[in-house]
Symmetry: C2
DNA sequence: CGACGATAGTTTACACCGTTTACGGTTTAC
DNA sequence: GTAAACCGTAAACGGTGTAAACTATCGTCG
């Protein structure tokens, strides 16, 4: 990943920015081997002493949040790439390709996955401005579902049919996602997205944590099953055989 | 919880057994306040030094496993109690009551939940014989679904329609659950159970981890939604309004 | 009863961990 | 050129899991 240098930044700022990159790099290298990420180990890997890291990060949790955010960003690129392997007008294919890549990535990088998705959400305001935004993988997934809806136009729940609390959370979302571009009457789509995300999250966490028969995990059958059961909700029942082929093709590979 | 003493045991064995109980007790007390469980703190809370615990537990992970198992066992009692609040012939009601109690318990005891269900599964053989068995909460849930099936007789997938790997894992399950009592042609029921568990697990983990709008978590609407979408799979579509009332009634309480 | 071996605890020690403090160089800015 | 901001260091504190050596107690057997 080439991190272009912004010439508007002063030399020191550029150096500082590059140190942040180093931190994330070192962290991910450690995370690739051991499930535990330690501030001291990160510092050592960068050839620094531990207290020096406190110039960049207020405490350990902030280091974790930083790394988690960057991992999510990087992983989202691979999800997007998986989607882009299909034609732009094949929104359903793009969606299942991305979700499958998500699942493959999670199984292949369990430690990174745990840091990003099995981490109690940080509600405290974070120092790094980037961290204020919502998870980028979430943005991608909503986009992909949105595309399916625009192309195929499945039925979404009327926002007034939804329970009061749900309606409120859709009209005035806490995390400023891209919900704003949706007209009020289309906000039900976000609820559908949440339903899908919940199911996807359930399988993947179960699989990554190993709370399932290893053979079933290996095969990915439960993952496929979840997708299949959700497909009708977004109007993809008939297309499912074709989509399943896309999934199975992707299950064969490893994820990087 | 009265831990009856087995008179067949020698005095020393009884004392040892009681120390195990103390360990779990101290651990849970600590877990109620702080998310981190430390071997040293447990020892201190029991008035012992840390190395002494190594007479009972080979290492830290084994302590965690022990505590996780006992927590699961204790929590299962409350799930079962929730089910028993309904008539024995109301299997659907009992099932949703137990699952709702599960969800409530998880939200009320996030640290304990994390230790039991968000813990990478221990594949190593554990010292304590109890630990070899499967999670008792899992046994309860399978029982409850089994009861629904016996009473209502919903359609289950024919085992030969399932993918090869799935069929293999159902015919010869790795974790020796109570699958053995099921005739081969009824093993599809276990697959249905796994589907349900996957979905339930997804919502609850998302909720406990806080990866959802707090208002939605508070209301439990996504949880209800998951149950509602799964209900038809086990033939409970028409009964859903009644079941939803049971759920909502339980959502009002806190769990102990 | 007395002795011996297993058991259950101790103290000590080591290597890690997150974090704070005080200090010294560089780099920037005025 | 000088003052300030920045970036790193070393030292230290209290915390963690774990290993080793040692000791007191308990249960059993001669």
């Amino acid at each position: 990943m080439p991190h272009l240098v912004d010439p508007t930044l002063t030399r020191r700022e550029r150096q500082r920015e590059s140190t942040y990159v180093d931190i994330v790099e070192a962290s991910r290298a450690l995370l690739a081997e051991s499930p535990e990420l330690s501030l001291r180990a990160v510092a050592a890997k960068m050839g620094m002493t531990a207290p020096a890291l406190y110039r960049y990060v207020a405490n350990y949790q902030e280091l974790v949040d930083l790394v988690a955010f960057e991992i999510d960003k990087a992983a989202t690129l691979t999800f997007a790439a998986a989607a882009d392997a299909l034609e732009p007008d094949d929104a359903p294919g793009r969606l299942v390709a991305a979700t499958t890549e998500f699942r493959q990535w999670a199984l292949g990088n369990p430690h990174e996955f745990a840091i990003v998705f099995a981490n109690p959400v940080a509600e405290a305001v974070c120092v790094r401005r980037d961290l204020l935004t919502v998870a980028s993988s979430g943005l991608l997934m909503t986009d992909l579902i949105h595309d399916v809806w625009r192309q195929r136009g499945f039925a979404i729940p009327a926002i007034d049919d939804l329970p009061d609390v749900v309606r409120a959370s859709l009209e005035d979302p806490l995390i400023p996602a891209k919900v704003e571009d949706l007209a009020r009457e289309d906000r039900g789509l976000v609820w559908v997205y949440m339903q899908g995300w919940t199911q996807l999250y359930g399988v993947v966490v179960l699989e990554v944590m190993g709370h399932m028969d290893p053979r079933v995990i290996e095969s990915g059958e439960m993952f496929i099953d979840v997708i299949r059961r959700f497909a009708p909700t977004i109007g993809l029942a008939e297309e499912m055989p074709r989509l399943e082929a896309i999934i199975r093709e992707r299950l064969g590979r490893a994820s990087g």
